[in-house]
Symmetry: C2
Subunit: 243 residues, 2 copies
């Protein structure tokens, strides 16, 4: 019996995906020699990566965003482990887009740690009239994606990152609320059901703004993080995931 | 009397640029609101940055290398300080190239912390027959650049990074030694004379290889760091500089 199965079947708390007060599931991964860490998502994850050369650990292949910052930290802190860090985020993608390329861009890579940040385009493209998926379509699609992942990769630590917006730029121009809050709640719900870790990016940015910073400092257009925004995301991700 | 002047005139140890056993000068900077951090150098620092948009803190403007990793860390850890992090490294540059653009790309930016990594092209281009500067030309040019910087920016913390190579790739193909070791020693000498901090990148990579890793892991061609190499550099830089 492997560690995850033991935890899932052996303790009711972990089996139920119990979150701490910070919204974090109890189980954290342990890195080993050759561990694969994969970042999946949309433009926030993509962050200008070189898609012609989708190899592990290469600077250009990791892009300019939080995956690159986290990857650099992991590679430096675990230089003895030969970690493989991949970024496979693609700009503009929504849950159904991830589902279409999930075998190639996730399952086949056999990640030990899989981080997913998805959801902002699922609402943004709907507000723009280019998509008709409701919040419930997002919830059900995301839940199915996580279930499929659990079946194919039972030992993988899955990290679900909270979709977020800053109240500035494009986010002031459409009817984002309360629909976006509903979607965030659904993301947390499906993360709990799938026994994943949860990185509270919206809470993090809300706290930063409450502390007196301008929302534009973190994401000029309200959606795509600045260098400061990505840096803060990377720091919080590493604290939550514990690697 | 400001802090640097006090230290320079008030204590003989610091005035002489005394280094610790780790090769590190005693004085470390303190970041304040609006502090400017500037990275200068060649392709290792440049690391594919967007030169059309040379602004502070932007992900693309910081490139893919150690300045981006350090910048992200500083911006996340000091979100309240409105730091300005610049990368102005340019691929292929040697000491005389820095000297030509030093007013525009260093003095005018008024950095509070200035990090310089320069020297590998000063020898590489000589080995290739495209430059005729000896190790002494490197030493004297570097010393003059630091002296000019001290006069224009007396309160700036200067960080000199040790030039380094890994013994693989292009470095196996030419007569790099003992000339390169002489140049490293000169870099340390001029750094001491100018009372700068010193980041021992060659020692760091030598230790990593001695610990059993392949040199190619850190720089495939012996000169340009991999993602792992940049990540390790960023970690060491932050430990030495203390920010």
């Amino acid at each position: 019996m492997n560690r995850r199965n033991f935890i899932r079947t052996g303790t009711s708390a972990a089996a139920a995906g119990v979150f701490t007060s910070a919204g974090i599931a109890a189980e954290k991964p342990t890195l080993e020699s050759g561990s694969v860490i994969l970042f999946q998502g949309d433009s926030i994850t993509d962050a200008g990566r070189d898609k012609k050369n989708q190899v592990a650990n290469e600077k250009a292949s990791l892009g300019h965003g939080y995956p690159a910052v986290i990857g650099a930290g992991l590679l430096a802190d675990h230089a003895d482990l030969d970690l493989q860090v991949y970024n496979r985020g693609i700009s503009g993608h929504k849950v159904p887009d991830l589902a279409k390329r999930w075998d190639r861009d996730c399952i086949d890579l056999k990640p030990d740690v899989l981080s997913i940040l998805i959801g902002v385009n699922d609402i943004w493209h709907k507000l723009n009239g280019n998509y008709d998926g409701t919040a419930e379509v997002y919830r059900d699609g995301f839940a199915a994606l996580l279930e499929r992942t659990r079946k194919a990769l039972p030992d993988t630590t899955i990290v679900v990152c909270e979709p977020f917006v800053l109240k500035c730029g494009a986010v002031l121009k459409g009817e984002w609320f309360p629909d976006f809050d509903t979607r965030r709640a659904y993301a947390k719900e499906v993360a709990k059901a799938a026994d994943t870790l949860w990185v509270p990016f919206q809470d993090m940015f809300d706290e930063a703004v409450a502390a007196g910073t301008e929302p534009e400092k973190w994401a000029k257009d309200g959606v795509h993080p600045t260098g400061e925004g990505h840096a803060l995301m990377a720091k919080t991700w590493r604290e939550v995931v514990g690697i």
